[in-house]
Symmetry: C2
């Protein structure tokens, strides 16, 4: 096992956190990750109360280990926060927006506050907002994010917010990525795309298979899926998805899509229901290159941590005694 | 000292390679890096023969250690390769374009061939072309490159080209980045931006100071500086530079710039001569966040390697004995 400030804070065996991906990280996946000794976060997304209650009931039923929840900050309100807090999560993650209105109630509930940021300036704001953990998310991540890359962002955030523990997110799907994140000064990783291709992920099997078959060059950042779904994402955020027919058709034609919205939205919703991924979105990060099979979440956690441990043990062997 | 396939190949003390940056990595900087026990590459850029001879004379005069040269593949011809090979470099790096026409003569000269790539497919082509080392360069790098991020690109390239040694490039400016690259499976790093802010870099002092004052959010990828300089870069490559007045003025107006070229080019050239960096380009990567002073190149090499060694030694301490 790898011991860091993250594992100490939540009594974990592995410094790995499940990204709270809406429609993917349900109670079953979060519980599986927590039961394996990592930290599962339920993906509460935009804050649908019915969905939240169902999945929070589920995670609480299925694990005795610490688990948490994550929400999209710009989309929620205090009611949503309060519904989630009533389930006594160990961790509460806020991403994409100003966390300050909600930080006090989360911390007053005795819940650890995780704030995800995409640049150094927002990391400083997160520290001032009272974050117990800050996630530095790079542009290679699947789903929503900004433009900075993980590798140079993580050490810059670590320097800016010390001694607050930092997690690396974006581009990490195996033990090498976890070991690298620790060398950058992070206390663990937040992984999304890798857990999309897990048995317990809520998404349809066809989307898991398509994710496995995709390569990083097939992914790109876009707004078209937010536009067709009618979601008012702040302009600084785009989403990394697998390019499909819908993506190719509307890329660089966002204005036209807005005009055609009534008809396109109906077609889009039907495609989501039917699992037609030529139209429906599959969010995925550049780490898809490292993902070749659907695996149970618990096995993933154990294998990634074991591989990272092996990389870390090998680190000392790279240091030679000077002989010249 | 850190021992890898890279250090073994060139008898180095440190697994660090100076990026062959045109107008920055002259003979003096390359020699300083090589004399410190890393590998200095002269930045031959677009292949100006007079510049090349001057700087290759200089590097050969100033170091007895292995050094090399790097050129922009799409811009050069066999004459340029032959001029460089006559100086007996230990390493020859080709970036940005098809290396196959030049690989045989480089290898026939007993020179190690380093090929820089920006995605997994080109990494496979580089292996087939006979590369002795492959550099996986991420989008966070300063200067020319593509869109993939370093952190997920490096392990994917390592898997695709094994057992060819891989170097990580893009976003690395300190010992944490070097240690992380080694954990990703790389055998070393190629660093550019960090060495721009070195005493021996050929660029003007004002550009070094501006680089130090910049933050990653001030950098972005663009074509405007290539257009004004009249350089026919293939469409897949853009350059990461510090945003300045010229950048802001012509961004998203590349067509207008092409129309205004005769007048703008004269003004641009005058700005370069005058060191006016509101107009002239300063290439810089996202690692500028980690750069706060101009330092001698030898000190940088030794400090980065020592810091990486310290991170690697600490890696074993992260592994706890299971107590639960």
């Amino acid at each position: 096992m790898i011991a860091t400030a993250l594992t100490e804070m939540f009594d974990l065996l592995h410094p790995i956190v499940l990204a709270p991906m809406g429609s993917v990280s349900g109670g079953e996946l979060a519980a599986a990750v927590s039961n394996a000794g990592a930290l599962g976060l339920v993906g509460g997304g935009y804050g649908d109360h019915g969905w939240l209650r169902t999945e929070l009931d589920r995670v609480r039923d299925r694990t005795q280990r610490p688990w948490g929840i994550g929400l999209i900050t710009w989309s929620i309100d205090q009611d949503t926060i309060d519904i989630a807090l009533a389930y006594s999560p160990a961790a509460f993650m806020l991403s994409f927006g100003d966390p300050r209105p909600y930080a006090p109630s989360i911390k007053a509930a005795g819940c650890k506050l995780i704030i995800q940021v995409q640049d150094v300036e927002d990391a400083r704001l997160a520290k001032h907002a009272g974050a117990d953990i800050i996630v530095a998310q790079g542009s290679e991540a699947g789903g929503h994010g900004c433009s900075r890359a993980t590798l140079p962002l993580v050490p810059a955030v670590v320097d800016a917010v010390a001694p607050i523990p930092v997690l690396a997110a974006g581009g990490i799907a195996d033990g090498r990525g976890l070991a690298a994140a620790l060398m950058l000064g992070a206390d663990g990783v937040l992984m999304g795309t890798r857990f999309c291709a897990s048995v317990e992920a809520m998404c349809k099997e066809a989307s898991k298979q398509r994710l496995i078959a995709s390569r990083a060059n097939d992914t790109a950042r876009t707004r078209v899926f937010d536009i067709v779904r009618g979601l008012s994402w702040p302009s600084e955020y785009t989403g990394r998805a697998i390019r499909n027919s819908f993506f190719e058709r509307w890329e660089h034609r966002e204005g036209d899509l807005t005009v055609a919205l009534v008809m396109e939205r109906e077609k889009y919703r039907a495609a989501v229901r039917a699992g037609d991924y030529d139209t429906a979105v599959i969010w995925a990060g550049e780490a898809v290159d490292l993902i070749d099979r659907v695996e149970s979440a618990g096995t993933l956690v154990e294998q990634i941590s074991a591989d990272a441990e092996s990389q870390l043990r090998g680190a000392a062997d790279l240091i030679a005694s000077p002989s010249r």
